[in-house]
């Protein structure tokens, strides 16, 4: 009681100052945290096999892109594998066909292709909401899957194998795993920064408002469809970037990337890590990719899908805020 009275006695201007100071300190803490994370990522290849780390970063970017849509716009896409695969196939096709094409141009081509695909998907899917949105994206992605099965440039069941990694800017040979690792890290940091900026911009605030209450956003005069479409396009572009980078790393683009299992996996990564948290998809992707690669060598290798399904069910029933959401709550409860 007494503390409340003393707060009321402090002049408003001082209170605003204190609040601003507190926020500034929080921002500084966050920046330090990201810097530490980046430092860790820079040193990681000393301890861990770079190809595994690259796989992790690609899937983390994919999950972050997906989370932009589900976590901040409230749109559940069940067809994100299409963008991931589209980026991969186009990049693979460009790098294999035009020898001497520099790596970054190959990745750019794949990203542009999936951005365009995202625009088409988005224009169709935002005409319906909720569950229909999920079904439409799933059906469209399945159509893309069949296109990749039959198209002349995709190599059918075999996919594109032995895609050359090329030279970055035509200079640096990407055959070196360590060099490629830092390129992939740069790609991830770029994608993550785009998402971070999008979320914290005025546009991101409107997106959240639409997620919370669409009719109200409409009545406030926002063009809801345009906002949703832009979120969809950014998300599909970054998902394509992730797929394109993955193709360069593994020198392979295959139908596995386009299958609806992949769309399910990216949902699981986001859900497990924490929907609507910035770091959740990164954590979720780390857990799922690590789990998959450690299971695939063991006796439980054939049970991977079953185990993923069990995690799915447990997440939905008991753990809807995900790992990062849970940690955030823990920190809030104990350090405030």
């Amino acid at each position: 009681m007494s503390s409340q009275e003393s707060v009321a006695a402090v002049p408003l201007a001082v209170r605003a100052n204190v609040e601003r100071e507190r926020r500034r300190a929080a921002t500084r803490r966050r920046q330090l945290f990201y810097l530490a994370l980046l430092g860790l990522a820079l040193l990681a290849p000393l301890a861990i096999y770079p190809v595994f780390l690259m796989k992790l970063l690609c899937f983390a970017l994919f999950a972050c892109a997906f989370n932009l849509l589900l976590g901040y716009a409230g749109l559940l896409s069940f067809g994100h594998a299409a963008f991931f695969a589209c980026g991969g196939y186009i990049t693979g096709h460009m790098l294999s066909t035009y020898s001497g094409l520099s790596t970054e141009l190959g990745i750019l081509a794949g990203t542009l292709a999936s951005t365009l695909l995202g625009l088409i998907f988005g224009l169709l899917a935002i005409r319906r909401q909720g569950i229909y949105f999920a079904m439409i994206t799933l059906a469209l992605a399945q159509m893309v899957f069949f296109v990749f099965v039959q198209a002349p440039f995709t190599g059918g069941e075999n996919g594109l194998q032995g895609v050359p990694r090329g030279h970055l800017f035509g200079l640096i040979d990407m055959q070196n795993n360590l060099a490629l690792y830092y390129v992939v890290l740069a790609v991830f940091v770029f994608g993550f920064a785009v998402i971070q900026r999008t979320i914290h911009s005025p546009y991101g605030q409107v997106l959240k408002a639409i997620r919370e209450n669409e009719p109200r956003a409409v009545s406030l005069g926002y063009n809801v469809d345009a906002h949703k479409l832009l979120a969809f396009v950014i998300s599909s572009a970054l998902a394509g970037l992730a797929g394109a980078t993955k193709t360069v790393v593994f020198q392979l683009a295959s139908l596995t990337d386009a299958h609806w299992h992949m769309s399910g996996e990216v949902i699981l990564m986001t859900l497990l890590g924490g929907v609507g948290t910035l770091l959740g998809p990164l954590v979720g992707a780390t857990v799922v990719v690590t789990l998959q690669s450690s299971l695939s060598n063991g006796p439980l290798g054939e049970w991977v899908h079953v185990i993923l399904g069990v995690i799915f069910v447990l997440c939905v029933l008991l753990f809807r805020s995900g790992i990062v959401g849970w940690l955030e709550r823990l920190v809030k409860r104990n350090f405030k």
Partner: protein, 295 residues
């Protein structure tokens, strides 16, 4: 030989028959999805897995317990329907108040578990189910050969579809269901046991999927993946028809099967994708779906 647009009549009719059979399965499955969606407001992503379970229950029943086709046609939907009710009571009920998307994700997880386990236990290639003696052979209609079993599938699926339609639209139990779809709280206030109604509805939708699975067993191979890809097509059918009407689901299912059959004759490359293309067209022209009511 009679030619229609450069295609022999018998080939055309044969593909239309196949299309009608696929359409019967689309109708049965989208009907189940629509009923479940009506009351529970969730999309049952495990529908494909439950269709597969229906087929496997018939297959395992025949090989280990000697249950014949006709008994399986009754017992398998009953068994899988009961399983569905247990899923509703044990799992779906816990998330009833949450965002409807969680229902989709939960049933998706269940589908992964069931299909993954069956792949491990029975392999991907699957097994064949013998055709019942009474339905072997066929009729020569002069212009084409009509296999008895295929005719039976269409008749049985249509009978079950229309019986379901009659039950929902014309009986007292159906009126409860329709009222529950409109306003479950008011129904509860009138003394109707809504939670029981929800459980029965989910069980019935699942049983429809299992029934389709048993019908499919002698035609298609019984494989763990038989439901998953079919389900995505059924989702497209549901988007085309809209889930507002029971009859709409049946008609759309049959029509899409026929269109797919025609595409196989005239432009086989697009046979896999034609339903998705129609979905895109419907979304452009009439976003709520052909029979949909919501704006």
């Amino acid at each position: 030989m009679t030619l229609v647009f450069g295609v022999p009549l018998s080939v055309l009719l044969g593909q239309l028959l196949l299309g009608l059979i696929n359409g019967s399965f689309y109708a049965l499955l989208s009907l189940g999805l629509a009923i479940i969606f009506g009351l529970l407001r969730i999309i049952n992503f495990a529908h494909g897995a439950q269709y597969m379970l229906g087929a496997f229950a018939a297959f395992l029943g025949l090989n280990y317990l000697g249950v014949n086709y006709w008994a399986a046609l009754l017992l398998s939907p009953l068994l899988i329907g009961l399983l569905g009710m247990a899923i509703e009571r044990g799992l779906l009920r816990r998330i009833a108040g949450e965002d409807h998307l969680y229902g989709l994700l939960l049933t998706f997880g269940l589908a992964l578990i069931v299909e993954g386990s069956f792949v491990k236990l029975f392999g991907v290639s699957g097994s064949s189910y013998p055709m019942p003696e009474a339905l072997k052979g066929g009729y020569n209609l002069g212009f084409m050969f009509l296999p008895t079993y295929r005719a039976w599938v269409i008749v049985a699926a249509l009978l079950v579809c229309f019986a379901t339609w009659y039950m929902i639209e014309r009986t007292r139990l159906g009126s409860y269901l329709r009222a529950g779809t409109e306003n479950p709280k008011l129904m509860q206030a009138f003394g109707i046991n809504v939670p029981l109604l929800v459980t029965l509805t989910y069980g019935y939708g699942v049983a429809l999927a299992a029934f389709a699975g048993v019908l499919a067993a002698p035609i298609y191979a019984v494989t763990p993946g038989m439901g998953a890809n079919l389900l995505i097509v059924v989702f497209a059918v549901v988007v085309i028809g809209g889930m507002g009407s029971i009859m709409g689901a049946i008609i759309t299912g049959l029509a899409m099967g026929l269109i797919e059959g025609l595409t196989k004759v005239f432009y086989p490359e697009a046979a896999n994708t034609v339903i998705f293309v129609i979905m895109v067209l419907v979304l452009l022209v009439r976003p709520a779906g052909l029979f949909g009511k919501e704006a």
